[in-house]
């Protein structure tokens, strides 16, 4: 029994020490004032945060902020503007859950610094439509059940809106047969162009149905919109 108590005591101490270390790491400027006279955690190598101003428009609303230079566009949207529609999946540009439209182009907001978007116009899933007035793509995703868990959906929808725009502008893709002709609004084109958005639930066939309906692809399930 004594032994067990000792073990618990030890564990508690470990947890307390861990918490202190975390504090020291998060606030390096006061780390030297930590009890016990411990040296600052990585104090000599952790540079102090730097901030910069950025002014940009999100879903038609202007914002001006002073941000840590490290803040990604995604973290700015979610943590500073509380627009939590855009999701953080992989945080390294592989999954597409963070896809937003910046100055008319879809990008991975996790792989872009907020401060590099001064003057930009950003559209997130919240800016496409509202619960009362859904964007046609949002409505089509609901109609065709283009999701299961829904985590990738905001990125899928922002991408899908851009896909139709890109095909209409004549931007080619990997599956475009003739580079000198306008690309087709086809299922093959849509599938290729959506490859930067991963859906781990595997709702792909319903996602393609939703997009083809909005795009007005001949033979789409549910008919042309």
């Amino acid at each position: 029994m004594d032994e067990l108590n000792n073990i618990n005591h030890t564990r508690r101490n470990v947890l307390i020490t861990g918490a202190l270390s975390a504090t020291a790491a998060a606030v390096p400027s006061v780390a030297s004032a930590q009890p016990g006279g411990e040296p600052a955690v990585a104090g000599g190598t952790t540079p102090a945060p730097v901030t910069a101003r950025v002014a940009l428009s999100v879903n038609g609303k202007r914002h001006e902020m002073e941000l840590d230079t490290r803040t990604s566009l995604l973290d700015m949207l979610r943590e500073h503007l509380h627009l939590t529609g855009s999701k953080k999946g992989c945080d390294q540009g592989q999954c597409g859950a963070c896809t937003v439209i910046v100055d008319g182009r879809r990008i991975n907001s996790c792989l872009s610094l907020a401060i590099m978007h001064d003057g930009a116009e950003v559209t997130t899933v919240e800016g496409l439509g509202t619960p009362d007035k859904l964007h046609p793509m949002q409505a089509a995703f609901v109609k065709h059940d283009g999701y299961q868990c829904g985590y990738c959906t905001p990125g899928q929808i922002c991408s899908a809106v851009s896909v139709i725009d890109e095909i209409r502008k004549g931007i080619p893709s990997h599956v475009t047969g003739d580079l000198n002709a306008k690309p087709l609004l086809s299922i093959d084109e849509i599938r290729e162009r959506m490859s930067g958005n991963i859906c781990r639930c595997g709702a792909y066939s319903n996602i393609v149905d939703a997009i083809t309906e909005v795009a007005g692809v001949a033979g789409a399930k549910g008919g042309a919109a």
């Binding site: 952790t46 540079p47 102090a48 945060p49 730097v50 910069a52 840590d68 230079t69 490290r70 990604s72 945080d91 390294q92 540009g93 597409g96 896809t99 182009r105 879809r106 990008i107 991975n108 792989l111 872009s112 610094l113 401060i115 590099m116 991408s159 851009s162 896909v163 890109e166 004549g170 931007i171 080619p172 893709s173 990997h174 475009t176 580079l179 000198n180 599938r191 290729e192 162009r193 490859s195 930067g196």
Partner: protein, 317 residues
Amino acid sequence: MKAFSYERPKTPQEAAAAVMRVPGARFIAGGTNLLDLMKLEIETPPHLVDVNGLGLDKIEATNEGGLRIGALVLNADLASDERVRRDYAVLARALLAGASAQLRNKATTAGNLLQRTRCPYFYDTNQACNKRVPGSGCSAIGGYTRGHAIVGHSDACIATHPSDMAVAMQLLDAGIETVNPNGARRTIPIADFYRLPGSTPHIENSLAPGELITAVTLPKPLGGKHYYRKVRDRASYAFALISVAAVVQPDGTGRVAVGGVAHKPWRVAAADAALPQGAQAAAGQLLAAARTDEHNAYKLVLVRRTLNAVLIDAKKG
């Protein structure tokens, strides 16, 4: 991510000087590779110099009948450019085979060239990597090497260059225009741009400290049929296991470059000369110096067969 300061200079020379001023400073354009590596603290620049807004985002005709592509031209815009689609289809095809639409909307021409040559062991900070920490060893050697280099590699590094675009640029004999902090300009032929790993795999190209890429030039169009055939584990959005870029003329002569096999896009003059004799001969020249292991020996066969598929297609009317 380590904290960093940030500035936005007005001219290319100012940008070059700004990077020289702070030891370890880096240029940032699209950021799609650099920021990813900064999150993992594989790259830890104390200062970023944003080169967007330097006016390097235009594609223009050169007096020699070719194209000058601004360093900041986005991959998506380069692939969509009418002249590139018509006259340099191999480049458009290579760009469209790379990354995702979201990344191509952010990644730039110079940034694509300068993305790190890398492998999964470079990304895994628990593994030894001479590229990440010079002198620390290479965990990839003797590890799982299915995606690694089979030619031009060294005892220090067996990573492959991941760019599709750069393979087409190599095929087209692109020139890389730069400016240094003193304002001096030069053009580096792409054949002299990338380095093999040797004993210094952390040095990947021949740029001097502070030297900034301002443009990439393409010589006048080659004509012929253009191919970029990429073989990968899934149909889209994956790195090449191997890729073949080729321009084939009606008489069967042409050029070939290969991706996914070396620390840089791989081109051998003797392979171009052997192209009329067929895939067996040309692939043999390309990979004459290959050293493979049990995981990546398949790449020898895959290069030959992919080139053969390209040459069969080129013979069709």
